[in-house]
Subunit: 192 residues, 2 copies
DNA sequence: TAGAGAAACAAGCGCCCGCTTGGTTATCGG
DNA sequence: CCGATAACCAAGCGGGCGCTTGTTTCTCTA
């Protein structure tokens, strides 16, 4: 964790531009200019443009996975695990919204091998979430439910955050997560 | 109506390629080849590459809006309106998954004027959904709730469909919509 | 303060981009 | 079977793309 290197600066600039214009919509010259240099100078720090995308996407994957992994094995009720997992996820989006955007939108621009690598991380994340749900059903904390659809509903909610969540707005990450969590647990219907 | 024109063929090819590789990741020459002609021949039918994107995105917007609009004014309970709106939305995704993908991913590649036009359609759609929710709360069909967050939860679920839903799989559009609808209405928790 | 290593520049290569132009072919009603 | 019209081809323009090469400038330490 030393002070930021030039590479860090370039990655920071790249993730911002990729999130705004997409990978194919961003040129090496634009990245270089935003980093305060000419395009050729970039290549003292990177190999290819796609390497930049790969590093950004893997950084994002690590942040999301790192947020949920310690929770799954914790000794907590499933509903509480779910709550904390959602908070952690929103916090990652809040702290790295550009990363989240690139992670969701641009990973398909990677080469097949790297795309497969990212797909594996995605799957791992989904399985962690699925595990919380399965455990909750087994413990009787959740009703018997369509585990896949419930997982997809929650995943959709958190994966869509990058489209609208503004961390400078009135809702903190835990506000958002708590509200989603309540909605998902209790539903829209009044208790009869 | 009438039989498909060359323009229709080109749009069909374009939406497929845009959905697979993105707008900036697709070249005019690729579209032309997939349509069985050379790149110059395309320009007998279109003005610019971006016009193609615009037409595709507006087609998608019209399909989604056309699916929800007749429902909002119908004389039905709010929960039933919501159910039918979700079914209609999933059916649009099932029938036009490539359109849905381009609509969600590529509209930011449009010029500012056209992007604003699309944003207005999106907002209109969200307002229709919000209206159903507000009405449901007023009628006592839904508990008093955070209307914005409930709207975002449902929107996230249906807007994420293009990422995973396979219309050739075992779940029909109404299967998917019904399951989401039940989850959203009833929540994960067992009735105590 | 000399010199090494990191960082950036200047210039440009080969390629593909979106798009244009001028001419050729296929189709079909009269 | 002629002529109009739509559809397409062949060729290529100007420009921007990702990336390379050879040189210069900056910065820190010995």
């Amino acid at each position: 964790m030393g002070r930021p290197t030039r590479k860090d600066l370039i990655l920071e600039v790249a993730v911002r531009l990729f999130s705004e214009r997409g990978f194919h919509g961003t040129t090496i010259r634009e990245i270089a200019e935003a980093a305060g240099m000419l395009s050729g100078s970039l290549y003292a720090h990177i190999q290819t443009k796609e390497d930049l995308l790969y590093e950004v996407v893997m950084q994002a994957a690590d942040r999301f996975l790192g947020a949920i992994e310690p929770l799954v094995v914790a000794d907590l009720p499933a509903a509480e695990k779910l709550r904390q997992a959602m908070i952690a996820h929103v916090e990652v989006v809040a702290a790295s919204r550009a990363h989240a955007t690139v992670f969701m939108h641009e990973w398909k621009a990677l080469t097949p091998e790297r795309r497969a690598e990212v797909a594996a991380r995605r799957k791992a994340y989904e399985q962690q979430l699925g595990q919380i749900l399965t455990e909750g059903v087994r413990r009787g904390e959740f009703k018997p439910l369509d585990e896949r659809m419930a997982r997809l509903l929650i995943l959709s909610a958190v994966n869509w955050l990058y489209e609208w969540y503004d961390p400078t707005g009135p809702l903190s990450p835990s506000d958002v997560a708590e509200r989603y969590w309540r909605l998902v647990l209790e539903g829209l219907q009044p208790r009869t």
